[in-house]
């Protein structure tokens, strides 16, 4: 039985197709102006790589901020439920999921069945979300994908005195003018973000094992910085961390259609 999950985020849209709880295809695109348009386009991509059509999908669940705009979904679930479900399913020992997206960050505690028992959430302040790194990369004229390798070259990461994205942007420009190297600045930025996210994670009581999901988890620099900030080893998800929400949606769809996830 084929089921699908469609995660319509603020910056990207993700779709996965699973066959009886096994991942068969996934697709990621940049979000389009209309969430419904994103949903159709990303699902078409996933279906084509699975060699299937929409009629073959027994059940689809939508998630993400545009979850109510997925026209072919049977239900909409919060991304917190989906990330918790999928992270625990991918790594059964996981009890805490840290999800850093482009516009928010979440810390989710799950029980052994993958059910959410507690969560904390920041979408009020851009600092503490993926947007922080994005803005800073923009200010330095470097690509987001290069951040991780630059952070790895840091020898003496800078300590930022500002938390606010707007103030920190000015601060790093001064640091560049003062002759600080880009790797040290990038290293400092990762530490700053990790520090913010770590406070969020501690507020849900950091039960091990801990995993990291969401687009920012693709950045190896962030992975390491968060391990340092939390003082624990993070468990890696054995798939693209950006599609974890969609995987959770597809697992819930499988349950809804009578499968045993």
């Amino acid at each position: 039985m084929l089921t699908a999950g469609c995660d319509i985020g603020s910056l990207s849209a993700k779709a996965v197709i699973m066959e009886d709880g096994v991942l068969v295809a996934s697709h990621v695109i940049f979000a389009k102006p209309e969430p419904e348009e994103s949903a159709r386009a990303v699902m078409a991509g996933a279906l084509s790589s699975a060699g299937a059509s929409l009629e073959d999908i027994a059940c689809c669940v939508g998630t993400g901020y545009g979850r109510n705009s997925v026209p072919f979904a049977r239900a909409a679930e919060s991304e917190i439920t989906c990330h918790g479900k999928a992270a625990q399913w991918l790594n059964p020992g996981v009890r805490t999921v840290i999800d850093i997206g482009g516009q928010d960050a979440k810390a989710i505690r799950v029980d052994p069945a993958g059910t959410v028992v507690r969560y904390a959430y920041n979408d009020r302040c851009a600092s503490g979300t993926g947007r922080f790194l994005e803005v800073m990369a923009g200010a330095m004229g470097i690509g987001v994908d290069d951040l991780g390798s630059l952070a790895a070259q840091a020898q003496d990461p800078v300590r930022l005195s500002n938390q606010c994205v707007v103030f920190a942007e000015t601060e790093i420009i001064s640091l560049i003018n003062a002759g600080r190297g880009v790797p040290d600045i990038v290293g400092g930025l990762h530490r700053a973000l990790a520090h913010r996210v770590a406070s969020l994670a501690r507020s849900v009581d950091l039960a091990q094992e801990v995993t990291m999901t969401g687009g920012v988890a693709k950045n190896p620099g962030m992975f390491q910085a968060l391990e340092e900030a939390l003082g624990v080893k993070l468990v890696r998800v054995d798939t693209d961390p950006q599609i974890v929400g969609a995987v959770g949606a597809a697992l819930l769809a499988w349950q809804m259609a009578g499968g045993t996830a």
Partner: protein, 163 residues
């Protein structure tokens, strides 16, 4: 209200400070918020205040964070909302942030606004609307208030004579 911070100060009848709060951690609610928005809209800071007077239906900015508010303004801009409505929405968002700070120190009349941002008529009007009371206008340039206070203290230290 300055370019990088914002303070709410409550005074007794003699001008002694009873309570105060500062925000210098978050750009929202400081002059920087207005600077960022003016730049985004491609207008001067002074125009932001002037244009707001012609607003008919100010836009609502839901997010407090400057970064998110920028994204919201872009959406309104792309939707073709007129500039005066955008400017007024920016001023109102700014005023609502500062009103929170002001209420936290306990508002007692008369209230006045000092600092460079107080030169922006749009923010002053939005503050009056937000606080539900008129603000007392200053007889001097609001930006000079800090220096003026320093000079008054200098005179006191000098025993009213030459420093």
């Amino acid at each position: 209200m300055g370019g990088q911070d914002c303070k709410a100060i409550r005074l007794d009848a003699k001008g002694e400070i009873e309570k105060f709060l500062t925000n210098d951690k978050c750009a929202s609610g400081t002059g920087r918020f207005l600077e960022v928005m003016a730049q985004l809209l491609g207008v001067d800071l002074e125009d932001l205040g002037r244009m707001a007077a012609r607003a008919t239906a100010p836009v609502t900015l839901a997010g407090a964070c400057t970064v998110w508010a920028q994204a919201e303004v872009v959406v309104h801009l792309n939707a073709g909302r007129p500039m005066p409505d955008l400017a007024a929405g920016v001023n109102e968002a700014m005023a609502s942030r500062i009103a929170i700070l002001a209420r936290a120190v306990g508002i007692e009349k008369d209230v006045c606004m000092s600092g460079g941002v107080a030169k922006n008529a749009g923010v002053v009007a939005a503050m009056e609307k937000g606080l539900g009371m008129p603000l007392r206008r200053l007889k001097v340039d609001p930006q000079l208030m800090g220096a003026l206070g320093a000079a008054v203290i200098a005179r006191e230290k000098a025993g009213g004579n030459r420093c």
